[in-house]
Amino acid sequence: MAFSSSAENAPSGLTDRSGSFFKLIDTFALEIGELKKEMVQTSPTTDKEPMELQGMESEVSGFYLQSHQCGGVGGERDSGYDSLRRRMSVLDRLNQTHPVWLLLAISEEEASRFLLKQPPGVFLVRKSAALQRKVLSVRLKQDHSDTPISHFPVKESQYTFSLEGSGISFADLFRLVAFYCISRDVLPFTIRLPEAIASAKTQKELEEVAQLGAGFWDSALCSQRRTSPRPRRPLSRTLSPQRTKRNGEVGGSQQRHTGSYCESAPPTLRSHAVPPSYNLERRHSSGPLCFVNPLFLQTHQHHHRHCAEDSPPHADKSSKHPENVGESSLKPLSSSKSSEQHTVNIKLNGKSRLPPPRPPPPRSMPRRRPAPPPPGPPAATTRPKTMPEAVAVATRQPQPPSKRPAPARPPSGAKHSSLTKGASSPMTVPLNPPPPRPQKPDMEAHRCHIAMDDETIARALSRAKLPACQPPPAVPTDVPLQNNAQSTSSPNERGHQRLSDMSMSTSSSDSLEYSQSPGFSLGLAPSPSQHRNHQEPVEDSSEEDEDGEEDEEEDYGVGLETDLEMRLRTSFKARRRKVGVSLGGGSFILPRALKGRFRKVSGMLSSLMTPERRAVKRIAELSRNKSSYFGSLVQDYISFVQENRGCHTSGMDFLQTLRQFMTQMKAYLRQSSELDPPIESLIPEDQIDQVLEKAMHKCVLKPLRTVVEVALHDFQVSSGALQQLRENLALAKAKRPQELGVDGAVPPDAVAIEKIRHKFLNMRTMYSPEKKVSLLLRVCKLIYTIMQDNSGRMYGADDFLPMLTYVLAQCDMPQLDTEIQYMMELLDPSLLQGEGGYYLTSAYGAMALIKNFQEEQAARVLSSEARNTLHQWHCRRTAQRSVPSVDDFQNYLRVALQELDTGCTAKTLVVHSYTTTEEVSSLCAYKFKIPDTENYALFLVTEDTSQQLAPDTHPQRIKSELLSRPRGQTFHFVYRRLPNLNLCMPIIMQNGNILQVE
């Protein structure tokens, strides 16, 4: 994005008067830029349904042009005045400082102790042991002091988070908290960030706060701020002051605008204050609404399209508005604040000498108790020890690809730039900056940012109320809105609206959003692939792959018109059409009858995109980042498997190891703090496992699919099973249905068999066991359909299993055997009892019968071998139940052999943490077949250094030490010929004390 890049380069200290004017313009430019992106988003929809949405499409393209222009203008302006937009949103602050307020592990007592010292409204989120769910613990006002702290349970529905009793739900905890910072909804008043967080002016300050973690609450920083007179920060401006003063719009507005520039001020918020009784009536809306910006964004578009003026004029106009006077008065204020900040900094620095945060991953240390020390090996446990060092902000430097948002930014940019803040959002930072599409991270980051910061919420609210056209968000409400033809409510009327009312009025459109442009819903954040589809021609091949897979699946589902899923999908399409129409008319009114249905559908639809996808993507990215612990485990394991598949005794053994690895990695991810923010804050508890499972498929199975396939086939061949299966298949295929036990029901004809074969072939191209299983279910469904069509009765297993056996025999696909094995061993154990597990079992049984057809014909007994298999399968499933450890899988070390003549070859070796360099060397000698081992040694090679390792050092520990460093440096273990025996003195290291690499 032009915006962000210019933002980064720009000078950072512009705070004078003229600045505020440009700030405003800049803001508009940005808005337009975002809108532009939105538009690009929308067009895909029209692509898909050209017939239905033609009207929309033209509107859309019209708008696109227009906004493009504006964007250009904005871009010019932008270059000099980025600094104007450096305010950080509530959401940013929350994201940055979650180690402080997201304290899932602390007890109620501890939470109370923290909060008692805080002013009313300060909060934290923890997990209540009593309720077994997350609660928002809020410090109440003094006058309610019978219970100084109140705990509001967080409801986690299938895809969303909401406060108990509220109708508004959010995709993750951050958004939920952000929302309650600006609207009280079901709370007695709005919550507020601790002063030190709310008033932090730079990323760095936030980082410093974040590093304190739970320690923040006891820190001088925290208590000091508490005593400061009246918070004048932007945040608090929308908080209690206005709330308490119910009808004080005017006063409120004044106050508000001193806080920060008007763009950020949610105009309608202020006017939402309303007598509580009114709220009560409205509050109990029905099911959870995924209320949110998407809706607003849509309206937003409209507005722009319909309005006579395009944005620059708007900007001018609004800049003349009285409110901007207040705006420009920002300068003195902010400078005074910055001096305040200095004092804070000093305190902070003093503070930072206090006991360093507990062990490992700096940002998250307080939230989970004993961070994982990936069991066993000292290698893992030594890592934390060095972490404090990593924590020191001073040592952080720009680090190109980083999963840690903060260090990723150049210090100057980090200072203020809110433009880049999107990029800093942990959710969107690319772990591995993929060179092919340099822009993507930024776009997404941006999108994510617009998805919901406070102003967006506020605008959403105002928009929701005034769906037709109205001036751009930045224009304060008090600006005459009369030019808005469709707005029927006067500002005063609106003044009595509350957020929850808004959500009521938008409820239909919420669910609508899902269908409209899935990627948009605030919570159900942008589906990345979709965005990319239309914004950048360069597609991530991996995404593409997966999408392709999904598409294929759909295609194959066509045969089953009756599939529930398909039914839903079609009806959803139909609905979408209606929505499109109503949107075109600039109105959000939906036929009442549709509302309920929408809600139902939305659940299903949201499963198609949603945060889940985002989380999976982030884990996948992490897994590719070798400088992360998780990434190195996964990558090492993958290369180990690729090179050493021969070390398994059978295909099943192989698959079971894979399954075990995935289960262990899931356990690791749940414990570790490498995922930032913690997955608990993004995904409802009961969905986490599922999401992790999906992620593991992507991280592990996807890259290994072909390897696994080949390995399984090899085992099948070498064991003679393939030959046996072929022969028996041929025999079984020649049998009539009756001979296989089919009694009465009509078998599928050749055409149907061909169709089934096709599905099975397609199954082979997938890596996800779950997707394979769902395809198997479709096959079974098809078989049922054929059976039932011909008789109308319900068939149980007595009829189905023989029929399935017959069908599998007819398909004559020996490779199906390994497919079934793959599914059975790798499918998420929790799914094994369900429908998928049932039909998988049946398919396995049918295949086993076919495999032993001859024998069965003779003895009518399943071979003892097959019985054993069943037994083993049982074993592996029960073995699964014990909690796994990561122990086994961190024991890989990749070592390269460097030869003068032949270049490098690398192997992944099993190296335990207690394995010495000497042992590794001899292992290398063996693996690389080096005859003259005395001339070779193991080296640690970094970009510009190369050091021979002493025989008594432990390479695995060195590796974990290096990995734990804040700046992931690339390093390799190289086994190579000693240049000259006399020149090289081994470095002495003791007990894991590490050489300084830099």
């Binding site: 079974c780 149980g796 369900g834 019968l849 019985r867 139940r881």
Partner: protein
């Protein structure tokens, strides 16, 4: 309310009405919230039981002899097994006895066994006296009930009895976190469910 998934396996000769019983059970009081399954071999139904919801995952098996050897895969991990015989066919009762034996030997340890004498609407041509079957059931401390899938007699009751016999959750690991909170309820009340 916590949902607890219970795998229930259906055993018995072919033609005794295993699937009819389950179809009857699942289809009566059809609940629109249940996600439909693709076929009648695997059916689910959720019933309230005390402070829990029991979601039965019902695994039908093929009764023919040739599929007998596959049975372990089906009853493995089951919380309960319903062994069905046809009161009009003595043979099917003999098969039942074999199943009981196999389950005792190879089945899950705490499996709840229920014996269902189906087709009790055909009392005229009964071959298995109720008394004999009942005594057999008592001897192995199994649930016993005679049902008629056709007339919907005792089908619901069969599963209610099973529900009652399922021990309340003690180990939170067995199920999701949700059910964990149930443990806060006195275990007693859970036992007295239904």
């Amino acid at each position: 309310m916590a949902i607890r998934e219970l795998k229930v396996c259906l055993l018995g000769d072919t033609g005794v009405g295993k699937s009819s019983i389950v179809c009857r059970f699942v289809q009566d009081h059809f609940d629109h919230n249940i996600s439909p399954t693709i076929g009648a071999s695997f059916l689910t139904k959720t019933v309230p039981c005390g402070h829990e919801l029991h979601k039965f995952l019902i695994w039908d098996t093929a009764g023919q002899e040739r599929f007998h050897s596959l049975a372990p895969m089906y009853y493995r991990g089951s919380a309960a097994a319903v062994i069905v015989y046809d009161i009009t066919k003595l043979d099917s009762f003999q098969t039942l006895k074999r199943w009981v034996k196999e389950l005792k030997e190879h089945g899950p340890e705490d499996i709840v066994v229920a014996i269902a004498g189906n087709k009790n609407d055909l009392g005229d041509i009964r071959e298995v006296p109720m008394k004999e079957a009942k005594e057999f059931a008592e001897s192995i401390s199994a649930i016993f009930i005679e049902t008629s899938a056709r007339n919907a007699v005792n089908v619901e009751e069969l599963f209610q009895k099973i529900s009652k016999q399922i021990p309340p959750l003690e180990n939170p690991e067995v199920d999701s976190n949700e059910s964990f909170q149930l443990n806060r309820q006195p275990a007693l009340s859970a036992r007295r469910c239904c």
